[in-house]
Amino acid sequence: MIEFAVKNAWLVALLPLLSSIVITFLTRKSPVLSSRISRAFIFMALTLSSLICYEAVNDIDYVLQNSAGSLRWFTSGSFDFALSWKVDAVTAMMLVVVTLISTLVQLYSREYMEEYIHKGYSFSRYYAELSLFSFSMLLLVLTDNFLVLYAGWELVGVSSFLLIGFFFEKKSAPYAAKKAFLANRVGDFGFLLGILLIFTYTNTLNFDVAAAQIAAGKMTGGVLTLAAILTFFGAMGKSGQFPLHIWLPDAMEGPTPVSALIHAATMVAAGVYMVAKIMTIFAQATFPVLWGFNALDFIAAIGGITAIMAAFIAITQTDIKKILAYSTVSQLGFMILTLGMYSTEGGITPLGYTAGMFHLFTHAFFKAMLFLCSGSVIHACHTQDIFEMGGLRKKMPVTAITCLIGTAAISGAPGFAGFWSKDAMLDAIYEGNMFLFALAAIGATMTAFYMFRLYFLTFEGEYRGHGHPHEPGWRMKFPLIFLAIPSVLIGFVGTPWADYFKDFVHYTPVVKHATEHAAHHGPNWIVMGCSLAIFTVGTGLSFALYGKGDLSKSEALSLKMGGLFKASLNKLYIDEAYLWFIDKFVLAFAKASSLFDKFVIDMIVNVVSWACIGVAHFAKRMHSGNIQQYAMGVIVSVLLLIFAGTNYVYIAKQLPIYWVWITIGLILAVALSVLGYFGNLFKKILDSK
């Protein structure tokens, strides 16, 4: 069975696609059956991917050797574009994460979405789209070549678009979907350009082969750095990094389980995953381009900015899902920042790579759980404003406890999953750049602060809303409880003392050569102390302000902060900046273009048409209506064709000399008479005006 799973890894991706097709074409009319089919198929995919992951942990060599496969997709010239797949350690990990969270979310949705069926939203469509998303994400994860990666990349974009706009009767949902799509488009364009650049230079689309070709010197210097940065644009779009993050908070218009699956655990991780997967290419792009920055510096800078900016915005948000969304952006920023720490001066230490992947792994569990908790709360309270909640712990104990676990995990409470991964990340950044370390530390403190703020405002103190919230049914509780377990325990696979995760991930051949040089890295006590301090400060501040359910202190503080508070509340005016930019520059440019179109291009067209009309005014008079003149035109044309196609010198050689003179004379006579007649005709025509 394990052998089968490993050798047919493509089945994992195919199963959700099948369920999507079956739902679309066969069971569209019966929602319950659709949901069962979808859940059954994704559960099968989960089983298969668990087997693959089990085998990968046991014997990664076997998986690496046996899991690869390829189909010829199409051939262009002499180049075969392959639909190829391969499982390595990171892929095995992602497979389990994606299928597990998909399974739990689909189970959760069965209850959460029930109330929307009565409002006329199709359950079948929802499940078909979820399955489509799972397929695309698994395709993206499984493949080992750029083209299929890009296809999966766009497919997740499409399914994300569909799911964000799922509540199409809400006005804001389709707008949010469009915004997500457009913001992703910007990134994806860069991504495509990057892929094409790499393809042009290395003539391959396979990650490993491309990396090897680059290592062999096929692509160097500025071009390589440019290609790396362009490729990273894709990750910026998909993973919501700084200038392109604007879509992710708005994407919360979609159903909450969708946010948990797509916009917290899986799709937004695709950017990080992609960067990790082609890390060797990035690591070789050391040629400095802008102000001495190379590709990895760029990545780190973008990650750092995103991490702290999103955390800063999250502090003042009141919408529970928006807080979580900004938190996601911030955490993804941390991951990207850490990935940028891949290489340090004096040899390659892939510390950042492991730490980033580790955080991706743990973050998927607790962030999905937090979203599901928020879904549970929203389901109970029918509002998303945390200031209309409060005191829900007594009414929804399971949700409250799981949410507390998730909050503790993300804030980095010692022992929880997030603690170990965040510690590893801070360790990597500490090794790399002290300034960024300080930035990351501040960001992590903010994380602890706003996450506990969310918890306190939602579950502690007095209930401020109306209505009667209550605990949801087992289908929603089960995923929460199930996800709480890894949120607590999963971190122990990667403690600094016994880093199993690092050993596992490092076996990926992409970074194998680097691992061999890396010395064993023990616990860094300074960083660990910093982590503890960060957690304590963040949580303590949060407790002091919101812990007792008394909001007066925080209000006073917010008034005192003034501009800073306003900036955070208004998301640093980034949306406004975009609007201003579009208004001032894009629209101005468009207006200029339209003027150019109107007065230059249209003018050319008009002049041509006027010329045609003028010529036609003159030429129409040749249309005398006399059929015999037309027949004469035919004969003249035939003669012209024959004479124009004649090699006179050759004919002259064939004939005696007097024939030539006779012929020339006759031709002249013909030409003169024709000219004379038509000249006369023209004169008549002009006179007949």
Binding site: K620, R621, H623, S624, G625, N626, I627, Q628, A631
Partner: protein, 103 residues
Amino acid sequence: MTLTLYHYLVLAALLFCVGVYGVLTSKNAVRVLMSLELAFAGVSVNLVAFSNYITPGQLTGQMFTIFIMTVSAAEAGVGLAIIFNVFKNFQTADMEKISTMKW
């Protein structure tokens, strides 16, 4: 001087060119049709001559001539009907006056 194919071809060319000249210069529509028949006759002479000199005993050219005759008869019938109709509409068969087929 024996008769060769060229004699017949020159005759045919002459007949054809006279027909074309007639088509171009006749004022009366009926005479245009007559001239067309002349051109047809020229082509027919050509074909019969070829049939006789190039493929003797096979009659391919003669068969074609028969088909040409058929077509020319049909053409003459339809053409005359058209002229008759035109005459009804314009009260004339003058080619110069039938010139509404223009801008």
